[in-house]
């Protein structure tokens, strides 16, 4: 299938003007032909304060896989010339041609918006009107998390999903979004949770073996090593285990947790700092240890000093395009909500 990407620049326009341009520019460029629209979702990229990135390139890569309208939201505050309310916009549209004689297809649109003046704070107003109706709308928040008091209620009437990445800053700053979004039907998705899927799948495979199954699901003790005890990483994994195995948390300390399993027995969980993330499950004479290093996740099951089984899987690495493309394929993962509910939402960290 042939395709071409058309580009426009529109400095200093008013917010509503943008919607009109999106409706009219492509047909004009195609000599008056209204294309068939293939777009299946809206994707917002909130990029405030991140320097020196070609967002249009990233947007085009994502929309190459998922036909979408990508809105790059860049509120600009600070300098004197930014005080008048206006938008500096760039638009690109990819049009594909299937066959001679058939109308072309508008495959995707990418819009970069540098929002200035009043719009730097009230950007939701402009963005709302650009979100495609009745289709999923994701907002990937790449900048620093918003301050307390942010109008999540307004945002969640437009976006159906807020996408975050808790690897660097943890989940603490997002708790208010998770709480506010839920009653309004906005799901929160975490790209870090998604990457940790390599751990979950790895353990699920180990649990196909009887020794693996009993070590993970019925441990006497769990020892966790993680680069920072404040990280959401081990919490998300432990939260997932707690939910799946119907455990309950009875005590949370900074470096220690106490869990009750479904037989009422206590499982102590120790957390200490270590360079490479690891989980070790002790069960009778068996030890199952999993460690991630050099992009690999390696596990072994030992019975006393005898090594019974080893397994190595690739560990998913952060990649903005791949991560979001994968998330858009799969949609919201309910296990994430369950993991949050079982550990993180009641944790002070």
């Amino acid at each position: 299938m042939e395709s071409e990407t058309l580009h426009w620049e529109h400095p200093n326009i008013k917010g509503p003007e943008l919607l009109r341009l999106l409706r009219t520019e492509v047909p004009q460029a195609l000599g008056g032909i209204v294309p068939v629209t293939a777009t299946v979702l809206t994707l917002g990229l909130y990029v405030k304060g991140i320097p020196e990135t070609d967002w249009m390139e990233l947007a085009e890569k994502i929309s190459h896989v998922h036909p979408s309208r990508v809105l790059i939201i860049n509120p600009v505050t600070g300098t004197a010339e930014d005080t008048t309310t206006h938008v500096d916009a760039q638009i690109s549209a990819t049009v594909t041609y299937r066959r001679r004689g058939e109308p072309p297809t508008l495959f995707s649109e990418c819009v970069q918006m540098n929002l200035r003046g009043g719009l730097a704070n009230h950007w939701i107003d402009v963005v709302q009107s650009l979100i495609k109706s009745d289709l999923p709308a994701y907002l990937l928040w790449l900048g620093a998390p918003p301050l307390p008091g942010f109008r999540w209620d307004l945002l969640s009437t437009g976006f159906t999903h807020l996408v975050i990445d808790s690897e660097q800053i943890g989940l603490g700053p997002w708790k208010s979004a998770i709480l506010a979004g839920k009653p309004l039907g906005m799901a929160v998705d975490d790209l870090y949770w998604q990457r940790l899927g390599s751990w979950r799948a790895h353990w699920a495979t180990l649990a196909d073996y009887p020794e693996g199954l009993s070590a993970i699901t019925n441990p006497d003790k769990i020892v966790i090593g993680w680069p920072s005890s404040h990280s959401s990483g081990w919490r998300l994994l432990l939260g997932w285990l707690i939910d799946r195995l119907k455990w309950t948390v009875s005590d949370i300390e900074p470096n220690y947790l106490s869990i009750i399993n479904d037989y009422g027995q206590t499982i102590p969980v120790e957390i200490h700092e270590a360079n490479d993330p690891s989980f070790t499950f002790h069960h009778d004479a068996y030890i199952l240890s999993s460690q991630s290093s050099h992009k690999e996740l390696h596990s072994r099951i030992m019975k006393e000093t005898e090594e019974l089984y080893t397994m190595t899987d690739p560990c998913y690495q952060a990649d903005p395009v791949n991560d979001i493309v994968k998330l858009l394929n799969r949609g919201h993962d309910q296990l994430f909500d369950f993991a949050l509910a079982s550990l993180i939402m009641n944790d002070r960290d």
Binding site: A204, Y209, P210, M311
Partner: protein, 513 residues
Amino acid sequence: MIDTQSLSNPLREGLVESRRPQPFTMIIFGAAGDLAHRKLFPALYNLMVDHWLPHQINVIGFSRQPFDDEAFRHEVEQSIRQFSRQPLDPQIFQQLAAGMHYLTANFNDPEAYARLRDLLNSIRQEQHLPGNYLFYLATPPSFYPVIAEQLGAVGLNASPDPQGWVRLIVEKPFGHDLDSALELNGQLHQVFKETQIFRIDHYLGKETVQNILVFRFANGIFEPLWNRQYIDHVQITVAESLGIEGRGTYYDNAGALRDIVQNHMMQLLAMIAMEPPVAFEADAVRDEKVKVLRAIRPLSTRDIAMHTVRAQYDEGYIEGQKVPGFLDEPDIPSDSRTETYIAMRLLIDNWRWAGVPFYLRTGKRLAKRATEIAIQFKRAPHRFFSQTATPDLEPNLLTLKIQPDEGIALRFGAKVPGPIVRIRTVNMDFLYGTSFADQAPEAYERLLLDAMIGDSTLFTRKDEVESAWALVNSILRGWARSKGAIPSYEAGTWGPSEADELIARDGFHWRRP
């Protein structure tokens, strides 16, 4: 040794990465052949690239071509380079190749099966593997019973581990007629249980064929209309522009009815017409498919004369190239009565479909390649626009396009802009290619993975095969009795005029895919 078992695994529940098989060894009979090279090795490799395979997988090639392990690995590498949808990555290939072995052996040689058993045992012990075996019969069909019997004779029809599994994948064609299919089922059942047998129909591995069920049963708006009240008739087309492509001997023995109708078209028909299964599980789905196949009204001799048409292609032009007629193709006897085209009308005698005709047609050397199912709805009950509507306003038509352009189209009438009511037919088109840019896996990848996991939903069960053959058999018998000339059609057209007459008798016409 750790052996795997199917204990319920709470960590699998809800996991997006859930379908990974347990470690196993795959044994390919006929590993030096065309199917293994074009489909099986590339499918295995792509499954490995996409992380679907277990950590330990061994593959044993079993065929008479003399190879050693190294030469076999080289063969596999070449086939991946040539046929894989993803390019060969030497590191990943190395992982696959490390577990590849080859036995130079004749299918008829009992001693070879003892060697196979010994090799399997030594792999199992050296690598601490569970005794899970997947046998793939990529051989001429006459060897299916031979190999099954020999496997039974050396005890390879059951796993040496109490928790292990043994499965047998059988290629098409499954039988030449009803009797031979029954006989083959009987022979396989002497050695294997039905739950161990996976009969491949690669059509069921196609994304768009699976999507028929999703489309029908995951969307609330179509099912209420999916019955005799609203549907006028259904047309199923499997059109090929190719000829017999050097497979003259095979094709002359088979013909379009056996090659396409008995398996692929009966599957398409079953999926379009079946009742909703109680669960998306192997037996629930296949129970419903069998029910609908059994409800197809048997064809009497008169019905066969009236409601089936067979034909052979004559010379003609395909994409500007002159092509020979069927009877002039290599390996085809000049008095061959094998059909390269068939059109037929079927009725399904059940509550949902009483009185709704299903028209099926398939052929080689037709005007273009297209596999589609078209559902034509009844006209609106009261045509109050009849004064002003354009005469060519057509009834609503829902088309499920399976290949080459996968998608769904809905035809409806819309007002032409202007001061008077004029109505024109328009199409609402949804194309998979535009809404999902992800590369879909090949049919063989999906089916191999399902067999590795033990999910037989997309494989044909004994009773399904037999029901389809029962219908086809009655047609074959009817045709054998009629001695008249076989109609012909010009290559590059949509088939013989007799087929147009067949559908015109009911007041319809074939749609143009």
